[in-house]
């Protein structure tokens, strides 16, 4: 019994934890979508930019002989400032002039922003693969007394899970209980009406892109440690898409549950379905699940019900 259960639990836990890492990226999308009704194509590029703005100054300071943890704090502050400037530029020069335009127009503008951010980020900070070591990456064997050999858990994934949990709790409180959170939801629903009650729409957009930028920074610390900071981080956005469709574009908890489902689902499918129908399931399994969800529940598991009156 234990010999079957052990590997199953190992795969499940590994899958759930790696799913949380997808959720970290998906969260940035949810934030922008909730506050402006825009699918932000640039979120992946923002993770890359945040990672580069973190790792390059960090390497430079360590090279100059700064104490490591002091350098980490300074580099984090620097990267946060870079994300704030990016948010300001996006609001001022891209979204601001497009105020009161429809969602598709704004979506197209984020595609443009994505290319600019990717290009500018690599031009300024370089385009190699930069290793980052912010969290322990070694494995940890749990329950060795129950299962032979124990269950292998990656410490980095545990850190990712912890951080995602804290972020979600904070963001949920922010959206539900603050007037800024309510204003964000109002802006997402109707720009003109939000302005008419005195919601400063430009400020709200700056705040939301800033928060999305900081979430991107957090995601970059975890993913940068896992993969190294490199261009392919941009493609995380593609993995976040099924997470969003499953969880719902408007739900912060949905992004987490969606991530868990994708993470656990693809690892379990690879391990148990893979040998039967051929390997490589991991790469497309999430998209198939997303497709199934779209057919049954287009707003996602936790999305707001779409109310359409004619």
């Amino acid at each position: 019994m234990a010999s079957v259960l052990g590997p199953f639990l190992e795969i499940l836990i590994g899958g759930l934890l790696s799913g949380v890492l997808y959720s970290l990226v998906a969260l940035g999308f949810v934030l922008i979508y909730k506050a402006s009704g825009v699918f932000n194509f640039a979120q992946g590029a923002m993770v890359l930019l945040a990672g580069l703005a973190l790792v390059r100054p960090l390497d430079w300071m360590v090279d100059k002989g700064f104490p490591y943890w002091g350098a980490v704090v300074l580099a984090l502050l620097f990267a946060g400032a870079v994300m704030a400037i990016t948010a300001w530029i996006i609001e001022r020069y891209i979204l601001g002039p497009l105020l009161n335009q429809d969602g598709l127009t704004l979506f197209m503008s984020t595609i443009g922003a994505a290319f600019i951010i990717e290009g500018a980020g690599q031009m300024i900070f370089g385009s190699d693969v930069y290793p980052l070591k912010l969290y322990p990456t070694d494995a940890w064997f749990a329950f060795e007394n129950i299962f032979p050999g124990g269950i292998l858990i990656n410490k980095l994934d545990v850190w990712g899970g912890l951080i995602a949990g804290i972020l979600v709790a904070g963001l949920a409180a922010f959206f539900q209980y603050t007037k800024t959170g309510r204003a964000l939801r109002a802006v997402a629903d109707d720009h003109a009406a939000a302005q008419s009650v005195g919601i400063p729409i430009n400020w709200i957009w700056f705040v939301v892109w800033l928060v999305a930028g900081l979430v991107a920074l957090v995601a970059a610390t975890v993913w940068g440690t896992k993969l190294g900071v490199q261009f392919s981080i941009v493609f995380l956005a593609l993995k976040a898409l099924p997470v969003l469709i499953i969880g719902g574009f408007t739900s912060v908890p949905g992004a987490i549950i969606g991530g868990l489902i994708v993470g656990a689902g693809e690892k379990l499918a690879e391990a148990y379905l893979g040998p039967v129908i051929g390997g490589g399931i991991e790469y497309w399994f999430a998209y198939v699940v997303a497709l199934a969800v779209l057919m049954v529940r287009p707003q996602g598991l936790f999305g707001e019900k779409i109310i359409e009156r004619i």
Partner: protein, 276 residues
Amino acid sequence: MNAPLSQGSAMAEADTRAAKIGDVLLKVENVSLSFGGVKAIRDVSFDIRKGEVRAIIGPNGAGKTSMLNVINGFYHPQQGVITFKGERRSEMRPYVAASQGIARTFQNVALFKGMSTLDNIMTGRTLKMKRGLLSQALRIGPALNEELEHRLAVEKIIDFLEINHIRKTPVGKLPYGLQKRVELGRALATEPELLLLDEPMAGMNLEEKQDMSRFILTVNDAFGTTIALIEHDMGVVMDLSDRVVVLDYGQKIADGTPDVVQKDQKVIDAYLGVAH
């Protein structure tokens, strides 16, 4: 609303209404607005006095909604001056308009559809809430009191508009008449000095129109809120308003009390059409 009044009480009513109408609150001077080649408003001037109900009427496409959009800053006129509370501006900004005390409703109901009635009206309190983000999120101390205080103000509005039964309902699910009422509630929550209503009774049945008329009059009488409204139902306009400005093809063609405007030949022509 249309109950026959004796001559005496009608006179008395006119006197008390005249007494509560004060100085000029908003003045629009020589405003012109065009979109490309289309001239939506041409050289229009009029004023709105404190405490009055001012109607803006005219055939479809006359520029009425454009005028409201100019007043609350959605559109920026190419020419003209807007004076609100003594301050002259060549254009308003929506945020400035709202913070200076101009609230509005929309022709096609612009509510936050996914949010409940209560939350929709709470957004109207945005400018009145001052506590910091962190203390709000944690719901501690002064922020908690502040939230309760604003909640109380919103509860009063909900009572007044008789929409208690739909407080938790997402407004997207409500029938049109109730949505219009929630929208009025959101505007009232900002405690406006000037309330702009864009066709508050469009698409309503007789009973709903009577309710809405009652709310508008009470807001005007009891809170002293100045109201500018666009409306197509002439019965309603004549009953509610103190003065009427008539627009046609972007130009002002008449301005005065309902009685005078009603008899104006230009107005009759604009509505009925004349052979040119």
